[in-house]
């Protein structure tokens, strides 16, 4: 049985994320144990790691840094053991080199880029909040069944800052909101999504199922 670790560092409610992973696993008849991880040593046993994030980049980074060895252990699991990793919303943004929300804050630096405010323009309300369509820029297992959805993949977003990638190669999906908004990124065993799969109803659960089924 696989253990799915949802990192809980006080960044808000992770109850519904936990339930979404349980529900998705049940739908694909995969036996998993979804656990909330708030200590570094619990990360060791995880077969898949999920990093949610609500709030500002700075607060989330501080939240992680306050737990002894948490970042170091996640980093080791992801880099040395190739454990599949999914960052959600600010959990994705943290993978960047630098965040600019609430002052400049260093990110994990796993995926090259910076997190900057979405440019405000006429007709563009900030935060980018609501349902928007994700367009895909390449193929990947994680979006397999989502590319063929007739109505397009429309997911739920809530954010004011966005991930500006240095390297387009890491871009898997984007949406249009006055500017090109990074929606899904990938690099080796790392996936990040700006939208909230745990709030995107069926399509979100499908994305989670793909992550649970994903073997590198």
């Amino acid at each position: 049985m696989e253990t799915i670790g949802i990192i809980d560092y006080g960044s808000g409610n992770i109850h519904s994320a936990t339930k979404a992973f349980e529900t998705a696993a049940k739908d694909i008849n995969k036996e998993v144990r979804v656990i909330r991880v708030s200590k570094a040593d619990c990360v060791i046993d995880c077969d898949r790691i999920v990093l949610p994030g609500v709030g500002s980049f700075g607060d989330c980074k501080t939240g992680i840094d306050q737990v002894d060895d948490l970042y170091q252990t996640i980093n080791m699991k992801v880099k040395d053991y190739s454990t599949p990793f999914l960052g959600i919303c600010v959990g994705m943004q943290l993978l960047a080199d630098l965040g600019t929300e609430g002052g400049e804050t260093k990110g994990f630096g796993w995926i090259k880029g910076t997190v900057e405010k979405i440019p405000s323009k006429e007709g563009i309300k900030i935060p980018h909040m609501g349902w928007n369509e994700v367009h895909f820029s390449k193929d990947h297992k994680i979006i397999d069944s989502l590319r063929n959805v007739q109505e397009g993949m429309v997911a739920y977003f809530v954010h004011s800052y966005h991930f500006q990638l240095n390297d387009e190669e890491n871009l898997l999906g984007y949406c249009d909101y006055g500017t090109k908004i990074t929606a899904i990124i990938e690099k080796n065993n790392i996936i990040g999504c700006q939208f909230h799969p745990e709030k995107s109803q069926k399509i979100g659960l499908k994305f989670i199922k793909n992550f649970l089924n994903w073997n590198i």
Binding site: G12, N13, H15, S16, K19, A20, T23, V54, G55, S56, S120, K125, I126, P127, H128, M129, G130, W131, N132, E133, E151, V154, Y156, V158, H159, S160, D176, Y177, H196, E198, K199, S200, Q201, G204, L205
Partner: protein, 252 residues
């Protein structure tokens, strides 16, 4: 670009869904968690719980309902009613709400909006405005306490003010239209959408599907909220989405 949202609203009293005509006479329409599941299944874009009697009665039931709903419905959830303390917001967010809607407390203490927004982020702070037309002054005035108290504050000034303080979204209910089935007060909605740069949810008065279309096309709302037309099975969310799509609205 973003799709227009359809938001069914469940007025909750003592743990049960009700819908009052003009907020006074209550009718029972079921268990909130069960109703939420139906709307989730139908593809509602968001769900709103308003704990309408929160100022008078024990409100702890709402945390339980929010938690149970968030366990089975994987969609955005907004909760309002009687929120007057940072602690209420924290409890609701931890129970699984994505946004909270603040009504009377925002009027009585504007700074609460700023504090809440600073603490939890503008994206989860909705300010609910109950507006009623004043034909003598030729404006709309803000009402509080479930529409019972006239503050005489001008709605447009107030809307600008709370947005400047950090409201991430406005939920605008026309007291004149609520429960009438005559459609939104689109003149009001339009005025507000023209002056603020945050999403606006139109509420109050939906009687048919064309009203939803009008709220978006005439009022310029980003989202439309309705209760009774959905609760009593007159129309489903699926019907509403189909109709709106046919009328050229970008919907999910």
């Amino acid at each position: 670009m973003l799709r227009s949202r359809i938001i069914p609203c469940l007025d909750v009293n003592d743990g049960r869904v009700v819908k009052g005509t003009n907020f006074i006479n209550l009718r029972d329409a079921g268990d909130p968690v069960e109703v939420a599941k139906i709307y989730d299944e139908q593809g509602a874009d968001e769900l709103c719980f308003l704990d309408i009697t929160a100022s008078h009665e024990n409100r702890d039931t709402i945390y339980d309902i929010v938690q149970k709903t968030a366990e089975v419905c994987f969609m955005p959830l907004t909760v309002g009613g009687g929120i007057s303390k940072i602690e209420h917001i924290r409890k609701l967010l931890l129970s699984g709400a994505d946004k909270v809607s603040i009504n009377s407390a925002a009027v009585m203490n504007n700074i609460f909006v700023r504090d809440a927004s600073d603490k939890f982020g503008a994206q989860c702070i909705v300010v609910a405005i109950d507006a009623k037309r004043n034909n003598i002054k030729n404006n709309w005035e803000v009402y509080t306490h479930g529409g019972r108290k006239n503050t005489e504050i001008d709605v447009l000034n107030y809307a600008e003010k709370v947005v400047a303080l950090g409201a991430g979204e406005l939920l605008v209910t026309s007291m004149d239209r609520d429960g009438t089935k005559l459609g939104f007060d689109n003149a009001l909605i339009k005025k507000i959408t023209e002056i603020v740069n945050v999403p606006v949810i139109a509420s109050g008065g939906v009687g048919n599907l064309q009203h939803l279309v009008d709220g978006i096309k005439i009022g310029g709302a980003d989202a439309v909220l309705a209760a009774s037309i959905f609760h009593f099975g007159e129309y489903s969310i699926v019907d509403a989405k189909k109709y709106m799509k046919e009328n050229g609205i970008k919907i999910r």
